[in-house]
Subunit: 131 residues, 4 copies
DNA sequence: GTGGTCTAGACCACC
DNA sequence: GTGGTCTAGACCACA
């Protein structure tokens, strides 16, 4: 389910954090649900367990998950406390960035809108292909 | 004109490279136009000259600019050779990322579209505010 | 194994690049073989790690090696793709330069040939001396 | 007559120095012959007069030329004093470098010799083409 | 431990 | 003044 892009400039642990925040917000992960074990996730993503551990540690510090020593990590009861603003900021930032890029390349608002809708359409078709 | 975000995960030199590629594509920088001197730009951006030099060196290796020793750096004659695909890839990537984020947060295509148009509107008003 | 001449006009990082290209071409370095670590090679050559890093970064941009973050640098699978022409150009250039020098000093083709063979003989004896 | 390669790592003033040493050795420039004026040569080579001045200054310090203030630069009477060893070292160095390159690329002595003769032949034909 | 980025500051070739 | 190379050493992400 979770994917990471090792060629991205964004650190892998940040990508992992973001993925879990999304799953929690969507409700795919509910309070007290267990997260995959550090070793399993590291194996699945072909990365070092330390990197997953770093992501989990951050998520715990931010209050999204809690850790039972010797058992594993679980979604916190109040995990959705900050989710609305988290969601908003993550979405706003990425959309605003895309708009900024397009403006800096000299595209008009109409062109930007058309391009976005084109990509949105392509993305929806992508779903059918099982992505 | 150019801005960099030192808190971003994207390296400063990559941000500088992208900015100049946009200016060249828009035509704000034409073939044989001089780029700001390394020291001047470093002073303006409050960063180290080596960081600007790294960006300029990369741009030269990628064929966008050329260097006259002791004189300065200039936009290459064939600087727009790869610009179409560069522009496309940069725009596609940022737009697709925004769409991916929204989908992963569980938004429907209609919600994504509405949110995008809302941000696009906000961005256009931003221009009036003198950004 | 690798040597650099810090008094040469040729930048150290260029000398390092050339050495690795030769090793790859000769087959002493095969695809997926690891290169020496940046710090180790810098220590061995008595130069700054940044200088080695510059050479490795260039080799990566030119497609001869690839980098695994936190692991090291490795010879690329298609590292020999451009090697034939690289080798040819490097060899042609140095031989042609030697011939040009000799001609400009007024030597006849016969004298040039004799001098070259004399040096080649001296070089072969040099091997026996354990160079 | 004189050529410089601005893309070479060898400084332009070093290339100019070497060219004049060759001309003196060949006898194309004899004691008390005038050198081209700094401005003329700079114009001809499309470089900055300071660069030519640097080359002339070095040649004077090394005893190959002398300067008459307000008149120009002239070949020194004892200009050939060091020429034999200069010539030898310049030729040895470039030939030995070419041989070293070839050896490092894994060529056998026979291959090196054949390649050298091939290039020497090509070079002689080049003369006919008016190079 | 690895490589990547960035800083601060030196020296050099060239304009 | 310009850019290019190199050094010394910092911090970070990753294994």
């Amino acid at each position: 389910m979770i994917k990471v892009d090792t060629s991205s400039f964004v650190p892998i642990y940040e990508q992992i954090k973001k993925e879990f925040k999304k799953e929690i917000f969507r409700g795919d992960l509910k309070p007290n649900d267990p997260l995959p074990s550090i070793r399993d996730l590291a194996t699945e993503l072909l990365i070092n367990p330390n990197t997953v551990a770093r992501a989990y540690r951050d998520l715990e510090m931010e209050g999204f998950i809690y850790t039972k020593k010797g058992k594993g990590c679980y979604v916190a009861d109040d995990s959705t406390r900050f989710m609305a603003e988290e969601r908003k900021s993550i979405l706003m930032i990425s959309i605003d960035e895309a708009i900024e890029e397009a403006k800096k390349f000299g595209l008009s608002p109409e062109e930007i809108k058309r391009l976005f809708e084109e990509r949105l359409g392509a993305s929806l078709k992508g779903i059918d292909k099982g992505e």
